[in-house]
Amino acid sequence: MLSAFWLVLKRDLLLALRRRSEIFTVLFFFLVVISLFPLGVGTEDKTLKQIAPGVVWIAALLASTLALERLFSSDYVDGTLEQLALAPQSMSVMVLAKMVAHWLLTGLPLVLISPLVGLFYHLPSHSIGVMMMVLLIGTPILSMIGAIGAALTLGLRGGGVLVSLLVLPFYLPVMVYGSGAIATSMQQGLSLQPYFMVLGAFALLAIVFSPLATAAALRISLE
């Protein structure tokens, strides 16, 4: 079972290495969204600090959505997904591997580049740390919820837009608590623990249920 996990994970990472462009597309998109706001909003220090938490999360949400469509569709088109479904292994394990790969390729780069946001938006270094932490917990949730949507819309026309439409409302709680934590960190003397507890709970729930739901959705889409 574990071997299937590693097998799929390794292959997805290998494929991404062969085709580095996708990682860069997501990163570029993230940076474009991030840098567009100061241009429109003006560079007043207070305003920047105020919108920073929301902007980071929205950029992360949108970037994650952008990459979602490709999560299963190339495997679907060339028949690999059929073979995954027929492998004598639990489909949800393999699906989890694909989610992990997806996060490593699209979520993690965002976490790593997020200090740049702090720079653009004049955030205090303490808040930058908090931002990286919540992104680290939150982006995997995005990948996991998103995978369900991607599986449901497999092979449908208008896939990319449709997935985002289905998935974005469900991303909302992650965004609200994620940006809430960053905003709170900029005020003195407030505890961040509740935010991390809530996000942690979401992450746990997502890890337990989303591979199952995604595997079920994939089987439905393959019929």
Binding site: L7, Q83, L86, Q89, S90
Partner: protein, 217 residues
């Protein structure tokens, strides 16, 4: 080993493809599925794999429902459909390795290389699959047959895109598997002259279902 289909019925859209279809297949038997274009061959094969749920009836492996057996059944199964499951961005060897490992057959790279050689892709192992011709891609996915430990092979038009030499090779691979006690179900619009093994023919054409048994053609 025994595969049984009981009273299968499949409907696609509004059209009933077949109903009340029953047959069984045992060790050392090959079943040729025949029928016009659109008669439901692919649908039936996918149902036998568990990828498509028939509207009615059930499919049994060793007397147990394949839905219940699940992974245990899939371990016995090799399916190759219209799609080759070849990733253009991986090399030939990487493709083959991933697909065999995924099917649960742990095979050494030497065995894989040998399989590639047999199937006529010697010296192509480090070629990116995107640069293969249609028939070469089909060969890569067929190379898995040479290292597969599955008992039941389900092949949907395996001869498509192959040249004459490769067709003969594949025929002999199938014959050998049947001879050695395996089971094969295949659809093809070409005749498959087997030299040994029992052949069953199931024809889906025109709504009528006929099962013929004969020792070889």
């Amino acid at each position: 080993m025994k595969l049984e289909a009981k009273n299968l019925q499949c409907t696609r859209g509004d059209r009933e493809l077949f109903s009340d279809l029953s047959f069984s297949l045992e060790k050392s038997q090959l079943m040729m599925l025949e029928g016009q274009n659109g008669s439901g061959k692919t649908t039936l094969l996918r149902a036998l794999c568990g990828l498509y749920e028939p509207d009615e009836g059930e499919i049994l492996w060793q007397g147990k429902s394949i839905k219940k057996l699940d992974e245990a059944y899939r371990r016995e199964l090799f399916y190759l459909g219209h799609l080759n499951a070849i990733k253009p961005d991986l090399t030939v060897l990487e493709n083959l390795r991933f697909n065999t490992l995924l099917a649960g057959d742990s095979v050494t790279d030497e065995a894989l290389m040998q399989a590639l050689g047999t199937i006529g892709l010697f010296a192509f192992e480090d070629f990116p699959a995107s640069q293969l011709s249609q028939g070469q891609k089909r060969r890569v996915s067929l190379a898995r047959l040479l290292v597969s430990k599955a008992n039941l092979w389900i092949l949907d038009e395996p001869f498509v895109a192959l040249d004459i030499a490769a067709v003969e090779l594949l025929q002999s691979i199938i014959a050998k598997h049947v001879e050695e006690g395996g089971m094969v179900i295949l659809t093809t619009h070409q005749e498959v002259p087997l030299t040994r093994g029992k052949i069953k023919r199931l024809s889906l054409s025109g709504g009528s279902i006929k099962e013929q048994v004969g020792v070889n053609a």
